[in-house]
Symmetry: C2
Subunit: 465 residues, 2 copies
């Protein structure tokens, strides 16, 4: 037998996993649509000129590159070949790569279609991305991202709506204990100003972003090593460690940041977002102003978000923020403000598994299996099966002649909730024997009664949505 | 500005195209599920050892290959490098490729998971595939396939169910004029026997498969060139050209193929499939026995199908058949009979466009835009928007201060069917001004009345399903 395997870091999703993933994706998609977002899909392959240089040097190395078709060595540089220099040879033999995220393809789409797009443009995109990362638990080389962005408006209503969408999504998913961390890049700039570190914002943000991972002492060491003045650190950590609700934090910061225009702008934005949230009829429940949240070295320029499910050993399941210059990477003149966020499907999946929170009966869409006792009953089984399908009931007809016990086992292993048994008696009376596979209850009912029972059962599935 | 473009043969799908594609995919998926099929997804990348040799030499050349990560030249053969031999160097620098179809990954999945899978296993799979083909009108380098297969049973009920599924899918899609061509590999073998061409089946099948493309004369020439005895051709074409309904064709062939065991088996299978179709309460309407249908040089061993939409300048939109040895490519001991078929989403899309058959309002899921006349009315607009969302109505709130005419234009360009206008009057009275963007009708209604109107509108969408 030929040895067969999956490429490292990739996975198959069988029926059971697919049903659960579908539950997550459908729940989120429904929320995206409810807030007026429209779908976009971009190709798996992009030109390397589109992808390269957008994710830092490390990101460039994690791009999967596609070998040019045909005689790819024809135009390859002889010196690069002779030197066996993989890095220099790559552009000679590869023009395309697999997308690394959904944000850069989105920016590319917006710039390429800016004359047709009606702004503000709200798009969602749910597609796999690929990274040649070292695979490990929870980290894959192919995984799904689930993004929603609005570009072409700087209205803070969008930020408030993102908080609403995150809340609605978790409600649909049946997750109640989670925290939406929010911060603002300008507040971070205000912090930098406060400690006399203007110009060194990047190092500061990268360091404090690690606060909950490596702790205060280690962050202090890193800052000192990066040349931050030791005397500035107490006021920094006093601020980062300030305890209080959002309003208290904002008031406290307002007093500290009186001299920073940026800081004041950031606080003002946040205050507006929370006031809009109230106008929407929502509250700041689940929301926390986290001054240590920096979201790495990314392109964000305004509010930033990150979402964690509490008491679950999984990193953030969602993140995002406002950016003012995303499309400028393709066209310097094209500076449209946008704000977006993304759910990580794989992490949500793991969290729901850990919480045992997948609704019952996500396993299969098939609700009923028609079994038959003997060959003579088979035509009646076919008729009954088709009658269910005409009522939009998902139904499988066991196709082979097999002992009824084996057919029952089949339904059981496939977690099909109802089995209809058709035998000579059923053919004669027209009444069906139905077994509820969960309770074991068996009853004799007319076709119409079975249909009504199953439709009722189906209507109760995913009820918490 | 940096020059940006999509890779050749790939496409973005913007909101309008996505909505139409979603309509096709949802319609088909619903039918697949109704017949008990469960979803499977496999990774975009497969090991080249899994893909190579499965699609013929031409297919191997059309595989997109992924450059190994890191220093890919490290272990490359020096002679191959020096000879600049792309073909020989490829296995040294590339281990993975993009999937070429959904059938080989499915077979790989079945073999890898054969101890966990409950057979008969019914899976559907809707994912993109990639081929480094020369792009041309209607032919892309990335396109979606939409497959359903059953493995682990040789019951002809599956063939009958495939015909039912094709019929149901076309009904959902609103396509009424189409032909399901059916044939059987054993009938083709019977034909070969009839004309003394046993052993040369492949050449025969390839040639007659082209009958409707290149015509009888050209096929005859090809057969002669391939060494078929000229005297055998009249009886071949008499058979291929025989006119009649399915029953008449079967009867006629039964008389001609008395000496071919295979031919008799094929005819017997077809007769059974049609009788099962009747038991299911269906008919042979839309179905045609096409003796020239051969489906190329593929792995089929039993019934074969192909579907054409009539009076539309597009090739077949669906095809499939029974195979007995699919999994044997990975494990010679693993011979499980299966039958499957596939829809081509891109061709269905083009056909529906050509027929102008997409249902109205597939364009957007957003049903209502909330506009506002002035800043003072904006908070009320937010409240109203959220009220719609709580009723599961997809709603966008125009976020910026802009003249009402411009906001209306926005709704019009995005094809949002309803616009609610909120101004000081509405804030005071609580009554909403609603404009139906299609009819231009404007009315003043309470929130509950607008909600009822829009829910009623939504319930009528895709009604022909």
């Amino acid at each position: 037998m030929e040895k067969i395997a999956l490429p490292k870091g990739t996975r198959d999703f069988g029926p059971e996993q697919m049903a659960k993933r579908q539950f997550i994706i459908d729940s989120i998609k429904k929320v995206f649509q409810k807030y007026g977002f429209q779908p976009l899909e971009t190709p798996a392959m992009e030109n390397l000129s589109t992808l390269t240089g957008k994710y830092g040097e490390e990101g460039d190395q994690l791009l999967f590159k596609i070998l040019n078709s045909g005689d790819f060595l024809k135009d390859a540089s002889q010196p690069n070949l002779e030197a066996r220099n993989s890095k220099l040879l790559t552009p000679d033999i590869s023009e395309k790569g697999l997308r690394y995220d959904l944000t850069v393809p989105f920016a590319r789409y917006v710039v390429m279609n800016r004359h047709e797009i009606v702004f503000p443009f709200r798009r969602y995109q749910i597609q796999p991305v690929w990274r040649a990362d070292r695979p490990q638990k929870g980290r894959y080389r192919e995984f799904y991202q689930c993004d929603a962005d609005v570009v072409g408006t700087d209205s803070l209503v969008c930020e408030a709506e993102i908080i609403l969408m995150i809340k609605d999504s978790f409600k649909s998913l049946g997750i109640n204990d989670y925290t939406i961390k929010i911060n603002h890049r300008d507040i971070l700039s205000g912090l930098a100003e406060m400690i006399g570190a203007t110009g060194n914002e990047s190092s500061l943000f990268v360091a404090i972003d690690k606060l909950d991972k490596i702790g205060e002492e280690k962050v202090k060491e890193e800052l000192k090593a990066r040349g931050f003045n030791e005397s500035s650190l107490p006021v920094l950590f006093e601020t980062l460690n300030f305890q209080g609700n959002i309003q208290q934090k904002v008031e406290w910061l307002s007093k500290k940041m009186t001299s920073s225009e940026k800081g004041k702008k950031g606080l003002n934005d946040l205050t507006t977002v929370f006031s809009l949230l109230q106008t929407f009829g929502s509250t700041d429940e689940h929301v926390e102003l986290d001054l240590a949240l920096a979201r790495g070295l990314s392109y964000y320029t305004g509010c930033i978000f990150e979402v964690k499910i509490n008491h679950v050993a999984i990193g953030s399941v969602s993140g995002g923020g406002r950016y003012d210059n995303l499309t400028a990477v393709f066209d310097a003149k094209e500076k449209s403000s946008g704000v977006g966020f993304s759910f990580g499907i794989d992490r949500l999946y793991d969290a729901l598994e850990e919480l045992n929170a997948f609704p019952k009966n996500t396993t299969t869409s098939t609700t009923v299996l028609i079994t038959h006792l003997d060959e003579g009953s088979f035509p009646f089984a076919l008729k009954i099966g088709q009658a269910f399908r005409e009522k939009e009931i998902c139904c499988e007809i066991y196709p082979d002649r097999l002992k009824i016990k084996k057919q029952m086992e089949y339904a059981d292993r496939k977690k099909i909730p109802f089995v209809v048994v058709v035998g000579p008696e059923e053919v004669q009376s027209g009444l069906l024997t139905v077994k509820n596979m969960e309770t074991g209850n068996q009853s004799k009912l007319s076709l119409d009664e079975v249909v009504a029972m199953i439709l009722d059962f189906n209507s109760k599935i995913f009820k918490h949505k």
